[in-house]
């Protein structure tokens, strides 16, 4: 076996490896997560059984608070260590790769829901309507059911009440009052504004960074506001709810999880906004900002897919 010392001496890197120190955050975050889901499980079961939910809701909130607090201190530690210059170039590359593959896993999470939507639209609804290879299912079970998309007349309206209307594209005449179109415009603009902020950061123009980043966060918040508006319209006027069959199920889960991700992205960007105000980030070292902006572009792309496949087609 070769001599280790000579091997190490001939190593191509000048810098010795850097390994982050011990940390209490992972175990604290695990405890928080466990408390959160365990209490949330009880909360959901209590609601379903029609029992009191006092303790379970308090504990759920406590679990969430533990996770949030831990993550706050975890990230502050990372930022402080970065300001001290501890992580070398190699560890920073690891952060970049970590974010990259995390976004990839998020893509696959949405793929599951898009896959469900496509499967239902391509096959299930047709079969239930008595058409195609397995049309016998529909003929036997729900002879009255007509295959259309969006499904506004459910196979069994007693279990899943029909919505009065869907969120489908109203045609070009009604497009100006169609909220999803405005939301598309908002989100696509916000991808440009965050890019302008990023360029400003790379050019060392802090005032421009703060302005355009602030504008991005604002666009995100307006988007969320419009989505709440859309949801309350659906619930109160269209009778379109989670309970109104497969159209409501796919609509609310796809747009809802997207909205949740927009919330997360807007939160990350606003953290970056306050960090920018505090004078964080250098033109050549600002991965926190970059990661948040990648995430923002990702939720934007998901929205474009949603707009096409959930709203228009």
């Amino acid at each position: 076996m070769a001599n280790m010392a000579s091997k190490q001496a001939s190593g191509g890197y000048d810098q010795p490896y850097y390994v982050p120190e011990h940390s209490p955050f992972p175990i604290a975050a695990s405890v928080g997560l466990a408390l959160f889901v365990f209490s949330l499980g009880h909360l959901l079961n209590d609601i379903k059984a029609g029992e009191g939910t006092g303790l379970a809701s308090v504990m759920t909130f406590a679990g969430f608070a533990v996770i949030a607090t831990t993550l706050f201190f975890w990230f502050s530690t990372q930022i402080r260590e970065n300001h001290q210059g501890l992580p070398g170039a190699q560890l920073k590359r690891s952060y970049v790769l970590g974010m990259y593959w995390f976004i990839f896993s998020e893509v696959m999470f949405f793929a599951a829901f898009f896959g469900a939507l496509f499967y239902v639209r391509m096959w299930v609804v047709g079969w239930l309507g008595g058409e195609g290879d397995k049309g016998i299912t529909g003929q036997m079970l729900y002879p009255e059911f007509q295959a259309t998309w969006p499904v506004v007349d459910n196979p069994n309206p007693a279990l899943f009440p029909d919505p009065e209307e869907s969120m489908a594209w109203p045609g070009f005449s009604g497009m100006l009052s169609y909220l999803p179109l405005w939301n598309t415009i908002l989100l696509i603009s916000s991808s440009f504004t965050v890019h302008i902020a990023h360029t400003a950061l790379k050019n060392g123009n802090r005032q421009k960074l703060i302005t355009w980043l602030g504008l991005t966060v604002l666009l995100g918040i307006v988007f969320l506001f419009l989505q709440i508006e859309e949801y309350s319209h659906a619930y109160s006027e269209l009778g379109l709810t989670l309970n109104s069959g497969i159209y409501g199920s796919t609509f609310f889960l796809l747009t809802g999880f997207h909205g949740f991700h927009v919330t997360l992205g807007a939160f990350m960007l606003s953290v970056m906004f306050f960090r920018a105000l505090k004078g964080h980030f250098k033109p050549e070292d600002h991965f926190g900002f970059e990661a948040a902006s990648w995430y923002w572009h990702f939720v934007d792309v998901v929205w474009v897919c949603l707009f096409i496949f959930v709203y228009i087609l």
Partner: protein
């Protein structure tokens, strides 16, 4: 905060903090391995309850509902608690050593991935003690059994799966970042040890399918608690949709449990044959092809649900295609041994048994892939025999082989070779008595997941149960060997084995707390 450079000269932290606050890949690897061994024994206990009940026809020990809870928990604990974390533990220990890295790429996240697991499994196992009982719908948790007809424990089951998913995704991200970013200079992709290669591909599979598993349990959660109708035809959904999304995860999942095993066995067979692995490049390509094919064959689990003929044919042929790259692998292992100076230490015994018995499992897999034949085999004990042959003498034997192979490196002490061999032979004999008769039971028509059966199945079931107890109790020998080896024994050299090859054997046994402080050069 102490400076990073000083940190290299520190040993481990004192007491419990070393484990709770760990960032060291070896400590975290050890925790993963110990946890998975505990889960292996827990899942094994559930299995023995099942086998005890099936020793005779009629109901002896447990009620049908509890029997169903046992089959469900056995599957979940073994898949998500024993096999997957064990391989992640091996990756934690070995990948940095094999590629000349100081540690895993993201050490703190690494510790988070681990610590989520004990909580997830405590929550899942605690449902056994509730009035409603544990989940009873099988580890595949098909809707509507797991939605419309589920007990309240399903909520905790769903969240436990979410936690396992978070853990696996973070683990996979960490492994990919480590392999992409921390290889020592000169360690090109095609110079990486095969174990590292198979884990890289496995990590990609995890990233592709674990989020989909999270998606499907999320749909369940909404169907159960928020009135959606993904899996209910009454609202325009479809229970078969559940099966599609589940098996899109579930089929690659079986490769997630076997690809790292291929890596382990490739390392071991080369070492004990004292030869270079035959066909390294083709091993890499075969592993990649298997991973790709695993993503487009999931419907072979659903041949009898009813689907258009074109679907049956596509998935049948795609499945059979997997036999080609798998055949390449088996050929390479056999050819590596051919004309080698083979010695039969315990790791090699397990590795050879792996090659033979995994191939048997592969052949029954081919039988099941034939759609018209599958109409007969589906949901019988033939399926149980098939996947246990690939999982137990497959994945589990490779884990045993890995443990014996690397224990001297980990602990600095040689394990007790005689006890190791006793463990091997009892396991080998036990496993075949346990699962081989189940092929015949299945072909004769005994359905799986039943607590009682028709009289003509009695003989083979009795044999199977005897084998199960032999195999199960033999594992206590393994526990004893590990404890003994940790406590002491003949000192191991750096190389440990005659024919060992690769960076991990250039470090002393046990390796220093921080493996490589500067990158080693690779020729």
């Amino acid at each position: 905060m102490a400076s990073g450079h000083d940190d290299h000269h520190h040993g481990p932290a004192k007491g419990i903090k070393r484990w709770l606050f760990a960032t060291n890949h070896k400590d975290i690897g050890t925790m993963y391995l110990v946890f998975s061994l505990a889960m292996f024994l827990l899942g094994g206990t559930f299995a023995l309850v099942i086998r005890a009940e099936l020793f005779q026809p009629g109901l002896q020990f447990v009620q049908p509902d509890f029997f169903n809870q046992m089959t469900t928990m056995h599957g979940l604990v073994m898949v998500f608690g024993a096999v997957m974390p064990a391989f992640v533990g091996l990756a934690n220990w070995m990948v940095p050593l094999m590629i000349g890295a100081p540690d895993m790429a993201l050490p703190r996240m690494n510790n988070w991935s681990f610590w989520i697991l004990p909580f997830a499994f405590t929550m899942l196992a605690s449902t056994l003690l509730t009035d409603a009982g544990a989940p009873n719908f099988g580890w595949t948790f098909y809707a509507p059994l797991s939605t419309t007809y589920a007990t309240s424990s399903v909520t905790f089951f769903i969240f436990a799966v979410h936690m396992m998913g978070i853990s696996s995704i973070m683990g996979a991200i960490n492994i990919i970042a480590t392999i992409q970013n921390l290889r020592a200079p000169g360690m090109t992709y095609m110079k990486m040890p095969l174990f590292v290669w198979t884990w890289l591909i496995t990590a990609y599979l995890l990233l592709l399918v674990m989020p989909v598993l999270a998606g499907v349990v999320t749909m369940m959660l909404f169907d159960v608690h928020f009135g959606t109708s993904f899996f209910s035809a009454a609202g325009g959904g479809d229970p078969v949709l559940f099966q599609h999304v589940f098996w899109f995860f579930g089929h690659p999942e079986v490769y997630i449990m076997i690809l790292p095993a291929f890596g382990v066995v490739s390392e071991i067979i080369a070492t004990f044959s004292r030869k270079k692995l035959f066909g390294y490049d083709s091993m890499v390509y075969a592993t990649s092809s298997i991973a790709f094919l695993s993503l487009i064959v999931w419907v072979h689990h659903m041949f009898v649900t009813g689907m258009p003929l074109a679907g049956e044919l596509f998935f049948m042929y795609a499945t059979m295609l997997i036999a080609v790259p798998t055949g390449v692998k088996v050929f390479n292992w056999v050819t590596t041994m051919f004309k080698g100076s083979i010695s039969f230490e315990t790791p090699m015994l397990f590795a050879i048994a792996f090659v033979v018995l995994f191939t048997c499992g592969g052949f029954t897999g081919l039988m099941l892939a034939i759609a018209p034949a599958d109409f007969q085999y589906h949901d019988t004990y033939f399926v149980v025999a098939h996947f246990h042959y690939v999982l137990v003498p497959g994945a589990v034997f490779s884990l045993m082989a890995a443990a014996y192979y690397w224990l001297p490196k980990w602990t600095g002490n040689m394990y007790d070779e005689n006890l190791g061999r006793v463990h091997f032979w009892l396991s080998f004999i036990g496993i075949n008595i346990l699962f081989f008769p189940q092929h015949f039971l299945g072909l004769a028509g005994m359905p799986r997941r039943i607590p009682d059966y028709a009289l003509q199945f009695t003989d083979f079931n009795m044999m199977s149960t005897v084998g199960a107890f032999l195999f199960g109790f033999s594992q206590l020998i393994f526990v004893w060997v590990v404890i003994k080896c940790v406590k002491g024994g003949k000192k191991a050299t750096a190389e440990v084995w005659d024919g060992s090859h690769g960076l991990e054997w250039t470090l002393p046994s046990p390796p220093p707390y921080h493996s490589f402080t500067t990158p080693p050069a690779i020729k």
